[in-house]
């Protein structure tokens, strides 16, 4: 850690600990935000490493890079690490760092809880990945290998890796709930005088909705995991027909959490879009109210559409129809969001710094993700798409094209604010273009693979799928390698190299955080700003 990050104009007047102890005990929202983000970045690299292993195995048929068992473990860890380790923490980091600055609060409302919330994460990640490391040195039979969806009875049958994963989910759940409660309390209680709810920056709104969703649905996953643990070790039969249970019950519990989860990942970056686009279009946000109402609508709908992930599980007709039509409805508020983003840049005065490039890339890639989602909503056509590579392509356009692109845009946008240094614009542009090219090569080919009939989660495949898999793997190597540019750019600014950033950073940047110095002092808004 460089002095540029650790110092932040900090004063020691009240004798706070230094060094490692400072980071372990910190209750400062900026410190905790940075911890979250660094943790997320580490997990992003780990998840990326797993991804490259997957594509390495699939580069040609009859490849023996990974055994089938190891392959299943790697795909499972890839999914869990990316969703719970990379994306959720990194967006929580943005929330911790930015929400108090944006609403003019001195800190989060519950600082001690904030510290606990973060420090549950590293143990969770260790618990999840430990069996993998142990296996490498010959101990045990590896981590969870059921796919991130952990369907019963496969997960009932699995080895101790599943128990580790369940325990990790408990820790992650507790952490997410603490962070969410903290954010809700902060937003409701610590806004600067004069800032009504409908004047809050959209990023704050987006995290309010994210927190509500997390509080509403994470308990379902925790309960489900506890039931799974009981089935595995305490002789219950929630998920086994032999004892009067039903394996499909797990699918319901998982997706009741799992579908809203995709919006939990998405929302914060939808909020980020409405900060970046106006700045670089030099024009106010278009349709502020419409966006807030869309967040509400998406959040509400997202908890009642979960079984569109289960069209092939054998649902009765009424269920198929209900989940199909309700899923289609989500496209309406999502369409409103897209319309507002386009409206924001329409007739603006656009410039194309790296954050803007990533924001525009987000609109394009996430657009493809959303549109293909509409196709998946058809219950019968879904028989062809479900668990094929078409589905894999869909959710990577939706999750990388959306949240990851949005997070990267946000990193470039606020990095100068957080470190006080500009990143290298030239490398940023390279990063953008290589990411776009690598991403599309990797995942466009997977749409075609799915349509041609290739199932997901298989370690070896028939020969007609060989050429496109080769293409996809090469794309993935390019995509993976180009993310190192991001790491370099972050490290460079954090180490104190690069042009110093001004308070405003970007001409035309709006928001309370841009009234503060870059980097902002350790304690901000000791005197409350008044919003008029």
């Amino acid at each position: 850690m460089s002095s540029a990050i650790t110092d932040f104009g900090h004063h020691d007047a009240h004798g706070e600990p230094r060094g490692l102890l400072r980071w372990l005990t910190t209750t400062n929202h900026k410190d905790i935000g940075i911890l979250y983000m660094l943790f997320g970045l580490t997990m992003f690299l780990l998840g990326g490493f797993f991804a490259e292993l997957i594509r390495g195995q699939l580069i040609h048929p009859a490849n023996h890079l990974l055994t089938p068992e190891l392959y299943n473990q790697v795909i499972t860890l890839h999914g869990l690490v990316m969703v719970f380790g990379a994306l959720m923490p990194v967006t929580a980091g943005f929330a911790n760092y930015l929400v108090p600055l944006m609403i003019g609060a001195p800190d989060m409302a519950l600082p001690r809880l904030n510290n606990w919330g973060f420090w549950l994460l590293p143990p969770a990640a260790i618990v999840l990945v430990l069996p993998f490391v142990l296996k490498l040195i010959g101990i045990g039979n590896g981590p969870v290998d059921t796919g991130w969806t952990m369907y019963a009875p496969l997960s009932v049958q699995g080895g101790p890796g599943v128990d580790f994963a369940i325990f990790a989910i408990f820790l992650l759940g507790a952490s997410s709930l603490m962070a969410s409660i903290n954010i809700v309390v902060t937003i409701f209680n610590l806004r600067a005088p004069g800032m009504t709810l409908m004047q809050m920056p959209l990023f704050v709104w987006s995290w309010l909705m994210t927190s509500f969703l997390l509080i509403a649905v994470f308990p379902a996953l925790i309960a489900g995991s506890a039931m799974l643990l009981a089935d595995r070790h305490f002789g219950t039969h929630f998920f086994s027909a032999a004892g009067g249970g039903d394996p499909v019950l797990w699918e319901h519990l998982f997706w009741f959490f799992g579908h809203p989860e995709v919006y939990i990942l998405l929302f914060p970056t939808a909020g980020i879009m409405s900060h970046i686009l106006p700045t670089f279009a030099r024009k106010p946000v278009f349709g502020y109210r419409a966006q807030v109402y869309s967040y509400w609508a998406i959040a509400a709908l997202s908890v009642v559409v979960w079984a569109h992930h289960m069209f092939t599980s054998g649902m009765p007709v009424a269920g198929q129809l209900y989940f199909m039509y309700s899923t289609m409805l989500i496209s309406v508020p999502l369409g409103v969001l897209f319309f507002c983003w386009m409206g924001t840049i329409w007739q603006g005065a656009l410039s194309f710094e790296t954050p803007m490039l990533f924001a525009l890339g987000y609109i394009v890639l996430f657009g493809i993700g959303g549109l293909t989602g509409l196709v998946l909503a058809d219950a019968v056509a879904d028989q062809q798409y479900h668990n094929s590579f078409f589905l894999v392509a869909h959710f990577h356009y939706a999750l990388f094209g959306g949240p990851i692109m949005g997070v990267i845009a946000g990193v470039y946008y606020w990095l100068p604010k957080m470190t006080g240094r500009m990143y290298s614009e030239r490398l940023g542009k390279w990063h953008f273009w290589l990411t776009m090219i690598g991403f599309n090569i990797t995942f466009m080919s997977q749409f075609f693979l799915g349509v041609a009939g290739m199932p997901r989660r298989i370690p070896d495949y028939a020969l007609q799928f060989a050429p496109l898999n080769m293409v996809s793997s090469l794309g993935a190597f390019l995509l993976g390698a180009s993310q190192l540019l991001l790491v370099y750019n972050i490290a460079r600014a954090a180490a104190g190299y690069g042009k110093p950033a001004t308070n405003e950073v970007w001409d035309g940047a709006q928001g309370l955080e841009f009234t503060l110095p870059s980097p902002p002092p350790h304690h901000t808004f000791e005197e409350q700003p008044v919003v008029t």
Binding site: P68, E69, P153, G314, G343, N387, A452, P455, I458, L463
Partner: protein, 321 residues
Amino acid sequence: MIKQRKLILGSTCLTLVPQLAFARNPFEFQTPVTPIARETLYVHDLFLTIIAVLFSVGFGFLLFSVIRYRASRGHRPALFSAPRTPLQWALSALPILTLVVIDYIVMGIPAYHAVLTLANTREDAALVVKVTGSQWRWRYDYPDQGISFISNLSTSQEQRDSGAPTDPNYLLEVDKPLVLPVGKKVRVLLTSTDVIHAWWIPSFGIKQDAVPGFLRETWVKIDRPGIYRGQCAELGGGGHGFMPIVVEAKAQPDFDKWLADAQTAAAQAAAVTTLSKPELLKRGQQDYATYCALCHQPTGLACRAPFRRSLAASRSPRRRP
């Protein structure tokens, strides 16, 4: 700026060129041979066209803005933050209303029809077959005909170890395919003995989970004789990638003949009550080859890829019945 445009063009080409290497339309499913598959293909083509149009319109607006409203070209930003005039409101409502119409009329009506058609498994069904998934093979039963057999992957180990397989049906070949008549509605019941599997044959447009302890159902009515291949589509452990599905569709007379032969063979097998030792050994060897050899080598020690865990040293995962 020229550079950026070149990059866009370049990247588009890069993603499209490999597709051109294929004779078939990369957007098309495998050739449909059942009513459901045809309906699905129709819906798929329709949807892809619609979303391609929606994407092009959206992308067109984006490209237009990016080119037209550049700060570097001295464009002055407008200041509006919401629609103001009735016309602007109407223009804003238009895309949203279009979306609703697409969702519920253009896509919703054919989808409704397809759901009802797929759910109608019983009417006019001429034959019932039962499909049972197990780690990691399929078992097929013809309950009314008294026939049942197990269908195992038959791709040779040499091919799988080769690193450069040449078998055109690599990983898509089984020892005993499911045999079905063409032109008849076949009701398919599915279940599983261990974890959830899914029975997927792309040219039938059918993918149905096989859930342990429950019966699921679906149906097929195959147009023409041929061999149709698919794979398990629900992760079910280490051998999940190695449980293909092969269906051989025969014209009715051929099917009847196959059925008669299979029934005779089944009757013969049932008639044998006492077996001599050599016969028993032969039986055992057959059973070993069908059921056990997929995971266990004859030595009982080392297991071949993909199941490297050895029997002797195994901390094998707990199995629940």
